[in-house]
C-alpha cells in the first residue's frame, strides 16, 4: 500500500495527534482522549470530571482534513492567527473526537498563539506574581513559563476589582481571576451548591457570589468544598495559609505543568492532604 493510501485509511475510533495514533471511546472529546493517552494539550479551564467549559482557549488545536498529513499542516511558516485552509482551529476540550481526525497540537505556531492568549490573561487582571502567595503553585504562572512567555506584551489593563475577605476561612481576590469558571462548576457539580457565577460581559465580566449580600460570608461555601480549592490561580484562597510551602517544594518547583494528572497533586496540596 502506498503511503498516500495508508493515510487515507481510517482506523476506527482513533485520532492522530502530532502523528501519534490515539484511541478514543464514544463521547470523548479530543482533550479526554489525549489525556487518557498521556498526551498533554495545554489547558487552564479544563478539569477531568467537570463539564467542559471552553473559555480559556489554551487548548486550541488544528484539525486538518482527512488525508492532510500532520507535516503538511505544520504552521511554522504561517502567520500567527491564520487558519489552515484545509482545516480549522478548535478547542480540544469541547470538540468531540471523531475517527480519523488529524490533529496538530504541540507545534511552534500553536504554542505561539497560546502564549499570546496567556499574555492577554495576564494583562487583563492584576497578576503581581512576586508577592502573590500562589506563586510557584499557580497554573497560569506555570503556563507562562511553559510557553516561554517573557513579558505581558500588551499594555496592562489595571482593572479595578474587589477583594472579598468576609468569609472566615476563604478569601476571594478578584484581581487574579481568569474567569475559568472552575469554581462555578465545582460548586455546582461536585459540592452540590451554587456559590459562584460570572456576571457582566467582555472586559466587565467578573466573578460574583450567589448570596443575598453578594458576600462570601453569606454564601454556603465551606472550607472543605472543592470550589474553595480548585482555583488555578490565586483568586480563591484559604485564608492565613499563604507562603507555608517553602520555595523549592511548591508544586511547580517539583512538577511540570504538562504532567498528566497533575490536578490531583495540586488538589491534594491545597487541601493539605499530601503529607
Amino acid at each position: 500500500m502506498s503511503t498516500e493510501a495508508k493515510q487515507n485509511t481510517i482506523t476506527p475510533n482513533t485520532i492522530t495527534i502530532d502523528g501519534q495514533e490515539i484511541p478514543f471511546k464514544d463521547g470523548q472529546t479530543i482533550m479526554d482522549a489525549a489525556l487518557a493517552a498521556g498526551v498533554y494539550i495545554p489547558h487552564l479551564c479544563h478539569r477531568p470530571g467537570l463539564t467542559p467549559h471552553g473559555s480559556c482557549k489554551l487548548c486550541v488545536v488544528d484539525i486538518g482534513s482527512r488525508g492532510v498529513s500532520f507535516h503538511n499542516s505544520d504552521r511554522r511558516v504561517q502567520t500567527k492567527f491564520s487558519v489552515d485552509i484545509d482545516g480549522r482551529s478548535v478547542s480540544a476540550c469541547t470538540t468531540p473526537a471523531v475517527a480519523g481526525q488529524q490533529i496538530s497540537n504541540n507545534t511552534p505556531a500553536l504554542n505561539e498563539v497560546r502564549k499570546t492568549i496567556t499574555q492577554m490573561l495576564f494583562i487583563e487582571g492584576n497578576h503581581i506574581c512576586p508577592s502573590c502567595e500562589k506563586s510557584g503553585d499557580c497554573t497560569l504562572q506555570a503556563m507562562a513559563y511553559h510557553l516561554g512567555m517573557l513579558d505581558g506584551h500588551f499594555p496592562q489593563f489595571f482593572p479595578h476589582r474587589e477583594v472579598d475577605a468576609s468569609h472566615p476561612t476563604v478569601m476571594l481576590d478578584r484581581d487574579r481571576c481568569i474567569l475559568c469558571e472552575l469554581c462555578v462548576r465545582a460548586s455546582r457539580e461536585v459540592d452540590g451548591k451554587n456559590v459562584f457565577a460570572i456576571a457582566g460581559r467582555g472586559i466587565t465580566a467578573h466573578l460574583i457570589v450567589n448570596s443575598p449580600s453578594g458576600k462570601l460570608a453569606d454564601s454556603d461555601l465551606e472550607t472543605g468544598d472543592m470550589a474553595a480549592h480548585i482555583c488555578p490561580v490565586g483568586a480563591i484562597l484559604i485564608k492565613e495559609h499563604g507562603y507555608e510551602v517553602p520555595i523549592g517544594r511548591r508544586t511547580f518547583d517539583l512538577h511540570q505543568v504538562g504532567e498528566i494528572g497533575l490536578e490531583k497533586v495540586i488538589l491534594a496540596k491545597v487541601r493539605h492532604t499530601d503529607e
Partner: protein
C-alpha cells in the same frame, strides 16, 4: 533652620518629575541667605511614596512579601520587620527557639551582604583613592584594577551573605521564609554544612575589611571632620545593652552620651517619635518628641548602633568596638565617615554570629511555628536594618485586611542628618556662586557615608546620579550641576 523667602518657588518644585524618580537621581538643593551663606541644604529622596497606600486592603499574611519589594538590597529586613508585626497580629509573643535563630541567621546574612556591598562597591573607591581623586579611577573598576584581591574578597563576602539568605528563604533575593508565628522551612544538616565550608574565610575577610577601614579612618585626620555633625543617636539594644539587630528595646542617647530613653518597648514608638512633614520632600523627618522638632533629630545605622551599645556579644567585634570607643576618647564618635568603620565592625559581628549560629544545635531543629494566640488588630515590628532602625506598623480589620500602615524606613531616620552633613560640606567647599565638580564629588561622599537607599541597587557600581542646585535668597536658580549615571557632568542652568 526653616526656609523662608524660598517657599514660593519650592512649592512648585514639590511635583518631582517622574523621570528623575525612575532614574533614581539624588537631588540636592542648596539655599543661600542674603549674605551668600548656605542656610539650608535639602537632600531629596523620592522613594517609598505610596507604598503605605498600596498595602491597604491586602491580607495581613501577604504583607511581608509585598513590603520586601520596597528594596532590592535589604528585602529581608522588610520581610522580617513586617513578620514581627504579623506575629503580634496572630497573638504570638515568643517564637520557637529554632524559628528565632533562623530569623537571626537570615538577618545576619542579610546585613553581612548589604554591608559588604556598601563597602566594596560603593565606598571603597572613595576611601582607597581619596575622595578628591580622579573620578575616572574612583569606582569599583578602579578598585578591581588596583586592589584585585581586596575586591574579590568583597564579592565573596557578599555572595556568602546571599548564600545564607538562599539557604533559609529559598532564594538569594525576594524569597519567602517567615510565616505568622514562625518560619516555613527547616535548615537541613546538609544546608548547614554547606554554609560551614567557607565560614572561616568569611571571618578572616571580615576582619581584613575592618582593619582596612579602621586604618583609613584613624590615619587620615581629614576624615574626622569631613561632613561631621554632632547628633543624637537612636538604635535598638539587647536586654543587656549589647549590640542587637533583630530584637530588643529602643535606646536614644544625646550627642554627649546621656540617656534620653532606654529599653523602650518599640510598640509604643508613637509616644517617643513623631514624623514631621515638610512641603519640599516626600520623605518625612522623624524626631524625638522629648527634644522637639528642632533638637530632636537623630542618626541611625551602624554609627548609632556601635556608639549606643554597651558591648558586642562576639569577641572580635567587641575588641574592635573598644578601639572605636578609645578613638572617641570614651565618648561618642560623631565623625560621619566613621559610619564606614562602624559598618565593618558590624560586618565582623555578623560573620561571628553566623559562625555561632551554625554551631548551635537548635539551628537545624524542626519546630518552626509557635502556637498562635488570640488575634489582635494592631502589630508593630521593629528591626535594625543595615541602614538603621526600621519601623513597620499595621492595623487590620476583622476580616484580616490591612486598614492602615505606617513605615519609618531606615533612610528616613537619617534624613535630617544627611541634610546637616550636606550643609556642612557645602559650606566648606562652596566657593562663590558656582557649583564645582569638586563640590559635587564631596557632597556625594558625604551622602554615601549614610548609605541611603537611593544609592543602592541600580547604582551599585558607585556611579550615583546626582544633581546639585544652588538657589539665592529669592529662590532663583543660580547654578546647577548634574552628574549622570555614566559619570558625565553637565551644567544645566
Amino acid at each position: 533652620m526653616e526656609q523662608n523667602a524660598t517657599s514660593q518657588s519650592n512649592l512648585r518644585r514639590v511635583a518631582i518629575d517622574p523621570i528623575s524618580r525612575v532614574e533614581g537621581h539624588g537631588r540636592i538643593t542648596l539655599l543661600l541667605d542674603d549674605e551668600n551663606h548656605i542656610h539650608e541644604a535639602r537632600f531629596h529622596i523620592v522613594e517609598f511614596r505610596g507604598f503605605e497606600k498600596f498595602i491597604q486592603g491586602r491580607p495581613y499574611w501577604e504583607v511581608p512579601f509585598l513590603v520586601q519589594r520596597l528594596c532590592g538590597i535589604c528585602p529581608v529586613s522588610h520581610q522580617l520587620a513586617a513578620a514581627k508585626a504579623v506575629d503580634q497580629l496572630v497573638g504570638v509573643e515568643r517564637l520557637t527557639p529554632t524559628a528565632e535563630k533562623l530569623r537571626r541567621l537570615l538577618h545576619f546574612g542579610q546585613t553581612l551582604q548589604s554591608h559588604a556591598l556598601h563597602f566594596f562597591h560603593l565606598s571603597s573607591p572613595d576611601l582607597l583613592f581619596g575622595f578628591g581623586s580622579d573620578p575616572a579611577q574612583r569606582n569599583i573598576v578602579g578598585v578591581l584594577d588596583k586592589y584585585p584581591e581586596l575586591a574579590l574578597k568583597g564579592v565573596k563576602l557578599r555572595k556568602y551573605g546571599q548564600q545564607v539568605i538562599a539557604a533559609i528563604a529559598g532564594k538569594r533575593i525576594h524569597g519567602t521564609a517567615t510565616v505568622p508565628g514562625g518560619m516555613n522551612k527547616i535548615l537541613t544538616i546538609a544546608e548547614r554544612d554547606a554554609l560551614l565550608v567557607d565560614i572561616k574565610d568569611i571571618l578572616a575577610w571580615s576582619s581584613d575589611a575592618l582593619a582596612l577601614n579602621e586604618q583609613i579612618h584613624t590615619a587620615n585626620p581629614e576624615h574626622r571632620d569631613f561632613a561631621t555633625i554632632r547628633s543624637n543617636f537612636l538604635s535598638m539594644v539587647g536586654s543587656g545593652g549589647e549590640l542587637e539587630i533583630y530584637h530588643g528595646g529602643l535606646r536614644a542617647r544625646s550627642a554627649s552620651g546621656a540617656d534620653i530613653f532606654d529599653q523602650f518597648d518599640y510598640r509604643g514608638y508613637q509616644q517617643i517619635i513623631r514624623e514631621e512633614v515638610r512641603p519640599w520632600s516626600y520623605m518625612k523627618f522623624p524626631y524625638l518628641i522629648e527634644l522637639g522638632k528642632e533638637q530632636g533629630w537623630y542618626r541611625v545605622g551602624p554609627l548609632a548602633r556601635v556608639n549606643n551599645c554597651d558591648f558586642i556579644s562576639t569577641p572580635l567585634a567587641e575588641a574592635a568596638r573598644k578601639r572605636f570607643r578609645e578613638f572617641g576618647q570614651g565618648g561618642f564618635v560623631h565623625d560621619t565617615l566613621a559610619y564606614h568603620w562602624a559598618r565593618m565592625i558590624e560586618a565582623l559581628h555578623c560573620a561571628e554570629s553566623i559562625y555561632e549560629l551554625l554551631h548551635d544545635p537548635d539551628i537545624t531543629g524542626t519546630d518552626l511555628v509557635a502556637d498562635l494566640g488570640e488575634k489582635r488588630r494592631e502589630g508593630i515590628g521593629v528591626i535594625e536594618a543595615p541602614r538603621g532602625t526600621l519601623f513597620h506598623h499595621y492595623q487590620i480589620d476583622e476580616e484580616g485586611l490591612i486598614t492602615k500602615a505606617n513605615l519609618i524606613v531606615s533612610t528616613t531616620g537619617n534624613n535630617q542628618a544627611m541634610n546637616e552633613s550636606v550643609r556642612s560640606v557645602a559650606n566648606e567647599y562652596l566657593d562663590g556662586h558656582e557649583i564645582t565638580e569638586g563640590l559635587l564629588n564631596h557632597l556625594e561622599v558625604a551622602v554615601r557615608a549614610y548609605d541611603p537607599c537611593l544609592s543602592c541597587a541600580t547604582h551599585a557600581l558607585g556611579k550615583m546620579p546626582l544633581q546639585v542646585e544652588l538657589l539665592d535668597a529669592d529662590g532663583m536658580l543660580v547654578d546647577r550641576l548634574t552628574k549622570g549615571g555614566n559619570g558625565v557632568i553637565e551644567r544645566t542652568v
